[in-house]
């Protein structure tokens, strides 16, 4: 895995999301169906929020909120993202320091991807190389 390569080549660029008024229960169903640990919250085609499975534990389960709480009440609104051209090592460094498993990726001020530890595992196996000939 080449850590100097931009994070764009390793990120998940097709984002799965919910609407702000969707319930936490629906969001959890989607997370299970799609086997993913985070969801973006989308309004008018723009990402306005983000949350992970651990956010649900912290913000819904522990405080004892009902599972029909709209996601807009528990999502992270102040989105922190890194640039799509940032080298992977910088992204990993930031994720390690912040101790987070998901990082939003932006391009020209818009969220265009998410990079998770699963993507890191995939990147470690799926190299961008060719075996066709050394030439």
């Amino acid at each position: 895995m080449e850590t100097k390569a931009p994070v764009r080549i390793y990120m998940t660029r097709k984002l799965i999301g919910v609407s702000p008024d969707d319930t936490v229960k629906k969001a959890c169903g989607i997370m299970v169906d799609f086997d993913i640990g985070s969801l973006v919250v989308v309004e008018d085609g723009k990402v306005v929020g983000f949350f992970t499975k651990s956010d649900i534990i912290r913000r819904v389960v522990i405080p004892g909120l009902p599972n029909d709480t709209p996601v807009k009440e528990i999502m992270t609104k102040d989105l922190v993202a890194v640039d799509v051209n940032a080298p992977l090592r910088e992204v990993l460094d930031l994720m390690a320091k912040k101790s987070i498993k998901h990082m939003l990726i932006e391009e020209n001020g818009e969220i265009v991807g998410v990079f998770s530890l699963t993507d890191l595992l995939t990147a470690s196996r799926r190299k961008l190389e060719t075996a066709i000939a050394a030439e």
Partner: protein, 499 residues
């Protein structure tokens, strides 16, 4: 806005192959037009000879715009690659412009018509893409085509490692791949990558009675990319694409159909057949309760009775509706008869508004497949007759290049078949050759390849796997499931019309 003239395959020579009037006509048009620069995607000469290079050097100077030129297979004949560098310029390089970059790479192999972007060149290309990652328009230019083309007769000479190159370009958000080689102008959209093939600018060898042409590429400020094929007759054909970013999918409604797709079980008593992995996969498949299980061929490793007897035992354990198309392994030896005897003729499956169309592409004792001209016609008619249905086409051979596999014409009429499928509005295509899972959307048609479910000789870094395809009202979601561990990963997700 920026305009690029894309010429190719000039085949400049003193001989008959070169049509100097067509060259002059197109070059004059380019000189008069408002073009920012010109890309020539190779075969500037006909045989790579010194006199041809000298003349080409003179002819190319007629182009009064910045010019990028790269070598084609004809240019490297007779050690012409040395002359290319001496008289024309570097074989690989980078051209920067406002908002963008063109990276050109020599895809030729001396004295062969085939192409490849081998290890060192691939790494060089990757490093250039990393270096220019922040450019809005990244363009890669090479001579050989990346995706099979229609109307070229037998499909051949696509880059040997087209799958690896395609994967590299898509992951780097390359906007445009320009190429030539086949003398047929064509434009395909592969995910957000525009694959722009120029026809031949001034060679006598056009296909299907076509005339000489060149392509006009327009890069718009809002991100749109337009490609216009302009023939010397003045006829024009245009295509335009605007990449959609971010790509967001908001699942809604219930799942309408679940298909499990597997391939290359290669049941046999050979050491490479992983019996326990297949048994495990069948348990998982039954647990997933699919509406249909599709096997994309190579059910057995060889077409012999003993293997078919074993295979049918596994097949019977899979619950629910099933559709199996033969792969080339299935019809070796007596396999052609045995396949029908054990699994029956592949027949269409209709489920509500879904129509699953099997296409038999295997040929006797060769890994190269064919649908054939009559088969293509039948398929086109079937797609047309069922315009309102959600049409899923199932075949064994690849119609788009698969990463890590070597593309050596696995489907000899792949270009025409791909054209029939994309033009005919196939809503989903399932293939199962090459031993690696891959999913990509060409034009409006998602094409999903299954890796090998239980054969050790595969090319998938995740090991043996099968795919689960869930179709919703407005999207198709494809997961690859690891056949031993059951772990899943998203292979592709595409918006589709309402099934």
């Amino acid at each position: 806005m920026l305009r690029i003239a894309h010429i190719s395959d000039t085949h400049i020579t003193g001989g008959e192959a070169y049509k100097s009037y067509a060259y002059d006509l197109i070059v004059n048009e380019i000189n008069r037009g408002s073009f920012d620069f010109v890309i020539h995607t190779g075969d500037i000469t006909n045989q790579g000879l010194r006199e041809e290079y000298e003349r080409a050097s003179y002819e190319l100077k007629k182009i009064q715009k910045p010019l990028i030129v790269l070598p084609g297979n004809h240019d490297v004949r007779n050690v012409g690659y040395e002359l290319f560098e001496e008289l024309i310029g570097p074989r690989n390089g980078v051209f920067e412009f406002k908002d963008g970059v063109v990276i050109w790479v020599d895809s030729t192999i001396p004295d062969l018509s085939d192409g490849r972007i081998g290890g060192r060149k691939f790494r060089w290309l990757k490093e250039r893409l990393e270096e220019h990652s922040d450019r809005r328009f990244k363009i890669v230019a090479a001579h050989h085509h990346l995706v099979p083309l229609p109307n070229t007769g037998r499909e051949r000479n696509v880059l040997f490692n087209a799958g690896d190159v395609l994967d590299l370009l898509i992951r780097h958000d390359v906007a445009l791949y320009t190429c030539g080689h086949k003398h047929v102008p064509n434009v395909y959209r592969v995910e957000d990558l525009i694959v722009d093939n120029a026809g031949c600018t001034s060679c006598r060898k056009t296909r299907r009675g076509d005339v000489n042409s060149y392509n006009i590429i327009t890069l718009h400020d809002d991100g749109r990319i337009g490609v216009k094929i302009r023939r010397v007759t003045g006829d024009e054909a245009r295509k335009e694409h605007r990449p959609i970013r971010p790509k967001i999918f908001v699942p809604s409604g219930r799942r309408l159909l679940r298909i499990v797709q597997m391939s290359e079980s290669n049941v046999s008593d050979r050491i490479y057949f992983r019996r326990r992995v297949l048994e495990n996969a069948i348990r998982m498949i039954n647990h997933l309760k699919p509406d249909l299980v599709v096997h994309n061929g190579d059910v057995v490793d060889m077409g012999i009775e003993r293997y078919y007897e074993k295979a049918i035992g596994f097949y019977r354990r899979v619950k629910g509706r099933k559709l199996v198309v033969p792969g080339h392994n299935d019809i070796t030896y007596l396999g052609h008869d045995l396949f029908t005897e054990y699994f029956g003729e592949p027949r269409e499956v209709e489920m509500g508004n879904f129509l699953v169309i099997p296409v038999v592409s295997a040929q006797y004792e060769t890994p190269i497949g064919v649908v054939g001209r009559m088969g293509q016609k039948k398929l086109a008619e079937k797609l047309k007759e069922n315009e309102d249905k959600f049409k899923i086409v199932v075949l064994h051979h690849n119609i788009v290049p698969i990463p890590r596999s070597r593309e050596l014409g696995f489907l000899e009429d792949g270009g025409d078949v791909l054209h029939v499928l994309t033009k005919g509005g196939a809503d989903l295509v399932l293939t199962g050759h090459g031993g690696n899972a891959f999913g990509v959307k060409v034009e409006d048609t998602p094409i999903v390849n299954a890796g090998s479910v239980s054969w050790e000789l595969h090319r998938n870094p995740f090991g043996n796997s099968f795919n689960v395809i869930d179709i919703y009202r407005d999207m198709i979601v494809v997961f690859e499931v690891q056949a031993t561990w059951g772990s899943g990963r998203l292979l592709g997700i595409w918006k589709v019309k309402r099934p």
